[in-house]
């Protein structure tokens, strides 16, 4: 029984990202989408926190949203994995529920 948590807002603008991290349970995964992808940027203020999170939980970033913002896999923190829209759907089906942090 696990949950996929999606975050679609920048951690620089909203607290949703931090709240999502604070409510990850065993087996849960985090998927950063839309403006949420900026929180996965290497060397950003949130990089250390997310790298620590990635040691205990699966962390994913939606590639098309990253690309749209001028970034690629090399720009995201170590431990985060890129997915495309198909991968997004797979993640939804692999978990028991999705929690969309706004």
């Amino acid at each position: 029984m696990s949950t996929l948590h999606t975050v679609n807002k920048s951690p620089f603008e909203r607290s949703a990202f931090i709240s999502a991290l604070n409510h990850l349970g065993p087996g849960d995964a985090l998927l950063m989408i839309e403006d949420g992808v900026v929180g996965a940027r290497k060397a950003s203020a949130f990089a250390g926190l997310l790298e620590k999170t990635a040691k205990n939980f699966s962390v994913y970033v939606l590639g098309p949203d990253l690309a749209a913002r001028g970034m690629a896999e090399k720009d995201v923190i170590q431990g985060a994995r890129l997915v495309d829209y198909g991968g997004f759907v797979d993640l939804v089906t692999e978990h028991d529920r999705t929690q969309a942090w706004l």
């Binding site: 029984m1 696990s2 949950t3 607290s15 949703a16 709240s19 604070n22 409510h23 990850l24 349970g25 529920r97 999705t98 929690q99 969309a100 942090w101 706004l102």
Partner: protein, 145 residues
């Protein structure tokens, strides 16, 4: 594709729905919209609970007075939820602490327990972050506002 079954849709399936409220009441429409959806879902006889965390805890503050801002004070509606069989309002302790709030700052919300002679029981349950995480993990559906 032969082994793909259509989803089972039955009216007697009771799902655990949790509404997760993270925003203060009047600056955006989220809080009011959440309450509207909660009341609608009550009509479908689901197992509904509400969670209040982050600025969402402000939705339950005592003594809300909106006369100066030209908006309807919808906080009394929370007190009616018990009549709709909604008896579980979880409030995250860490969110209260961070904001300098105490459980006493929140409205008293109760329901009548029909199994115990309609005794009034509190609907608000203060839980810590790890408890809330576990409660969330027991839900079928989580709806964030």
């Amino acid at each position: 594709m032969a082994d793909v079954k259509p989803p089972e849709i039955a009216s007697n399936i009771k799902k655990k729905l949790m509404y997760v409220n993270r925003k203060a009441p009047y600056g955006t429409i989220y809080a009011l919209e959440s309450l509207e959806v909660v009341l609608i879902s009550a009509a479908f006889e689901q197992d509904v609970s509400l969670a209040f965390l982050d600025d969402g805890v402000y939705q339950l503050m005592k003594g809300q007075n909106t006369s100066g801002i030209g908006m309807k004070n919808f906080s009394p509606t929370f007190k009616a939820l018990g009549d709709y069989e909604i008896k579980k309002l979880y409030v995250e302790k860490e969110s209260l602490d961070e904001r300098g709030l105490k459980p006493d700052d929140l409205m008293e919300i109760s329901y009548e327990d029909e199994d115990e002679g309609f005794a009034k029981k509190p609907s608000v349950r203060i839980v810590n972050r790890s408890e809330l995480t576990q409660i969330m993990a027991q839900q079928d559906v989580l709806l964030n506002f």
